[in-house]
């Protein structure tokens, strides 16, 4: 039996949503499959063009083998593409009721794939659309299954569509509840490498100065840092790698002091330590970043894993997903001077340039602090920040000549000046952000916020010094909107993607605390709330009743008429018809009114003005 075109469209809808959602994450190959899907829809719905089942089966087998041999980037991606292909093949074949069921089932698998690959909060939109469309499709298939037919009437389709929309939306709200209460296990039995490192952020072991081929000015959000205590500054330095040695135009990373940090678990209670809640996007690095001087990190992903004293990020612990952690940092802590590293060495080729710079600009001082300040002031006054890339092989020459450059030039030259002045110094690569999200009260760290600054050793402390002149961020009209969208994404990450067993316990504890306090302290509030709720419920019921039993305008006059007669002593019963009442009253005005009322109430042409006039006549006559 031929399948109704409208039913096909209804069944294709969830598949389309699932495929769009999947293609969103697996672009551009996913987009190619999406285009194929639309072409097959076009062929099926308009041209009614079908391939034979045997050809499609053979094609499906070959495609399966091809995709698995190719295996793309990861096996999971291969599976996703395979399911997408099967869906398209299913559309191209001739359809029966069984095929319709299989298409809905395939849409399910497509959507599961999409859930595996997605990070964005747009997934929620896809989920809502998928649930609503799948509900309608399933309702209709239930009907077809029961009737053993592939066609439905217009009215039935409409009724099922309306019912399906309601069903879908209630399901979405119920899903939120289930999502919160579902038990979560901290133990992963089979770890699958799902994600492929499509992009890699962070800093390498070496920092080559003057050999930059391009400037990373992307707006990609890397992390969001929420200060958990009051913060007065409107900027934040996020510490990445520390580089000690400068050789052959390259800074070399300090292996002891960067990604593999030894954190002291008790340092969070130290005086002057500030805490931050950090949400990191999948950066595919092995480093956990923190502002200022990180003291410890609370990376308790799981409830029973009480202490991650030493954060040692191995290959398995690469940040391949969105993660949340707490960081505790000091602003400038006391530290011992590292042994075995020469923090005063300057490459010979730079000695003459640096010395002349010191001499010409009088960068001398009584103590390291004064010298550092002088160097900083010199750069701030005479140089400006620029992201221009030089073709000059000698970066120092270019920098001193044009008096503009990016942070690495400023930091390197400052470190070298300080070293020549006998002050141990090093450079730090990390991020400097000034982007504050006022909706969520957090700093946003983006790729373009990557920054380099200097630290010099004085009075048993490494003191940070940033000689780079500030740059103005461009402000657009859409800034506020972008800020809000970013806030939504933040909520999505913290409350959905990173919703854990700990979060569940926190919610239930908060609820328990709230209820306890409600009875203990706020009995009046509780009573007031209950009363308000009752009033609202009662009001809503009344309102709904009004809406549900909306009376005919003519009935208002009839009711008034009845009321007048009852007052006059007429014994009217609810079962009495208009004619019986007219016989009882026996006045021409009453008969006139009742005739007009009957005409008005039970026929399509109702003259309310005439009815009103006759009612007034009756009222006058009886009074």
């Amino acid at each position: 039996m031929k399948v109704d075109k409208r039913i096909k469209i209804v069944v294709y809808l969830p598949l389309t949503v699932a495929m769009v959602s999947l293609a969103h994450t697996l672009a551009p190959v996913g987009l190619f499959f999406l285009a194929l899907l639309f072409i097959s829809f076009y062929l099926d719905l308009t041209k009614e063009f079908y391939f034979s089942g045997k050809i499609l089966t053979v094609f499906g087998v070959f495609l399966t083998l091809f995709l698995f041999i190719l295996a793309l980037r990861t096996p999971f991606e291969a599976i996703a593409y395979w399911i997408m292909s099967l869906s398209i093949i299913k559309i191209l074949g001739k359809k029966t009721l069984r095929d319709l069921k299989q298409i809905v089932a395939l849409s399910f698998f497509n959507f599961v794939d999409s859930a595996i690959f997605h990070y964005s909060f747009v997934f929620l939109l896809y989920l809502v659309l998928y649930i609503v469309s799948a509900s309608i499709a399933l309702l209709i298939i239930t009907y077809l299954d029961d009737r053993r037919e592939t066609n439905l009437g217009e009215d039935l389709l409409k009724a099922l569509r309306n019912f399906g929309i309601g069903f879908g939306f209630v399901t979405v709200f119920m899903s939120l509840f289930f999502f919160i209460i579902l038990p979560r296990s901290p133990y992963v039995l089979i770890r699958a490498q799902i994600y492929s490192p499509t992009r890699r952020e962070g800093f390498g072991n070496e920092l080559q100065i003057g050999k930059v081929e391009y400037m990373n000015t992307r707006d990609q959000v890397l992390m969001r840092i929420k200060p958990l205590m009051k913060r007065h500054e409107n900027f934040l330095y996020v510490r990445g790698n520390v580089y000690n040695v400068y050789k052959n135009e390259t800074w070399i990373r300090d292996p002891e002091n960067t990604t593999e940090w030894n954190y002291k678990s008790d340092s969070k209670h130290k005086r002057g330590v500030r805490s931050f809640l950090i949400t990191v996007e999948p950066m595919y690095t092995k480093a956990l970043y923190a502002p200022d001087f990180p003291e410890s990190i609370d990376f308790r992903r799981f409830l029973f894993n009480k202490s991650w004293g030493k954060v040692f990020l191995t290959k398995e612990h690469e940040i391949t997903r969105k993660v949340n952690y707490k960081a505790f940092s000091s602003s400038i802590p006391d530290s011992e001077f590292p042994k075995g590293v020469d923090f005063l060495s300057v490459p010979e080729t730079y000695i003459a340039i640096v010395d002349s710079l010191i001499k010409v600009n009088n960068l001398y001082g009584a103590n390291p602090g004064e010298i550092a300040q002088k160097v900083k002031d010199y750069f701030l006054k005479n140089y400006r920040y620029s992201l221009e890339i030089t073709t000059d092989t000698n970066w120092v020459h270019y920098f001193l000549k044009t008096r503009k450059g990016h942070c690495e030039y400023f930091a390197t030259l400052t470190a070298l000046i300080l070293r020549r002045a006998g002050i141990p110094s090093r450079i730090v690569a990390g991020y400097l952000t000034k982007e504050w999200n006022s909706f969520g009260n957090y700093f946003v760290v983006r790729t373009r916020h990557a920054h380099t600054w200097v630290e010099y050793f004085h009075t048993n402390r490494w003191i940070p010094l940033d000689p780079t002149p500030p740059y103005q961020e461009e402000k657009t009209v859409l800034n506020k909107l972008n800020e809000y969208i970013d806030y939504l994404s933040y909520i999505w990450t913290t409350q959905v993607l990173e919703f854990s067993f700990t979060n569940q316990i926190r919610i239930f504890n908060t609820l328990q605390y709230f209820i306890k306090n409600l009875f203990k302290k706020n009995l009046l509030t509780l009573l007031g709330g209950a009363a308000l709720l009752l009033i609202i419920t009662f009001g809503t019921v009344l309102l709904l009743k009004q809406v549900r039993y909306k009376t005919h305008p003519a009935t208002q006059y009839y009711k008034k008429f009845e009321k007048i007669l009852k007052r006059r002593g007429y014994n009217l019963t609810p079962s009495m018809t208009a004619k019986e009442i007219a016989d009882l009253v026996k006045t021409p005005e009453a008969t006139d009114f009742l005739e007009e009322y009957t005409k008005c109430r039970f026929s399509t042409n109702c003259d309310l003005e005439e009815l009103k006039r006759k009612f007034e006549n009756f009222r006058r006559s009886i009074s």
């Binding site: 595996i116 989920l127 009907y143 119920m174």
Partner: protein
């Protein structure tokens, strides 16, 4: 007529696709727990919600039904009878795919029942034996909203119905054993076609034109001639109380046949005149009731 408000038990059976759905939900649950991927948890939550909501909707659908069963006056054994079923939807939402059944073969489906609406249908009902049959239970169920499960409610109706013996179709030409004809020359008030003229009556459109009495045309009215029915018979059918089922069915069939032909039929059991000869539907019911209970202790 029988009414019952509250169902006794409600239960759910999983269908084939329901089993697949449950398996997929479990699989997704395992994937979510194992990977810790909250988007899989989200989707799992949606699947669980659909499961819970569909269960709740099917339960509400069945709860909001007001069922009335009306048995017909005549029910025959070994024949498909139809019980009138009236289903009222008390909920503000439409109800879909509601079925009422006595057994798997005796089923009636209502495709849509509008909000606060009423629908009627006929439930096929088969009885193997004559006499009092008790319909102990009626099942009301639905596969709606998703055909993953069948939810059924069990109504313990205990409907006691008197089922008449099975009636064979009798053709005139195969009638071999003709009952004793006692009606020759008997006075009959029943109108026939070829008997003696007994008077005039007003012409109706069912009468043949040849019957019009053309001599008497008054006030533009036509009159038809009335004749006595020569075939009219008064019959007494005799049966023993120990008669076999087949004999009872044959006697019942004969009685029904003659009564439908317009004859007067009586019933004698073990030689005693239990029901005196008469014609009409009431007589038919009387005889069938007697035959239905023959051999049973009342």
């Amino acid at each position: 007529m029988f009414r019952k408000h509250r169902p006794f038990v409600s239960y759910v059976k999983l269908k084939k696709w329901g089993r697949y759905y449950a398996a997929l939900t479990l699989l997704l649950g395992f994937a979510a727990v194992n990977s810790g991927n909250n988007l899989l948890y989200f989707f799992l939550a949606a699947l669980l919600s659909i499961m819970a909501l569909s269960g709740f909707i099917s339960y509400l659908s069945l709860k909001s039904i007001y069922l009335t069963i009306i048995a017909p006056e005549e029910l025959y054994a070994k024949t498909i009878n139809y019980l009138k079923v009236r289903v009222k939807n008390r909920s503000p939402l439409p109800l879909f795919l509601i079925y009422v059944k006595k057994s798997d073969r005796e089923k009636l489906v209502f495709e849509v029942i509008p909000p606060s609406g009423l629908k009627e249908g006929f439930l096929p009902c088969y009885f193997e034996k004559r006499g009092y049959n008790v319909v102990e239970s009626i099942f009301v169920g639905t596969t709606f909203p998703l055909s993953f499960t069948i939810r059924e409610m069990f109504y313990p109706v205990n409907l006691k119905l008197l089922v008449f013996p099975h009636i064979y179709k009798i053709r005139k030409d195969i009638m071999i054993e003709s009952p004793e004809n006692t009606g020759w020359g008997a006075e009959s008030s029943k109108e026939g076609a070829i008997g003696d003229f007994i008077g005039l009556r007003e012409y109706t459109f069912q009468d043949k034109v040849s019957r019009i009495h053309w001599k008497k045309i008054k006030d533009e009215k036509l009159y038809a001639k009335k004749f006595q029915d020569e075939n009219f018979q008064v019959l007494n059918i005799e049966i023993t109380s120990t008669a076999s089922e087949d004999e009872i069915e044959r006697v019942a069939s004969l009685a029904v046949y003659y009564l439908e032909q317009g004859h007067s039929v009586g019933l004698k059991i073990d030689g005693k005149a239990t029901i005196s000869p008469d014609s009409g539907i009431k007589q038919k019911i009387k005889i069938l009731e007697e035959l239905a209970l023959l051999g049973y202790e009342s």
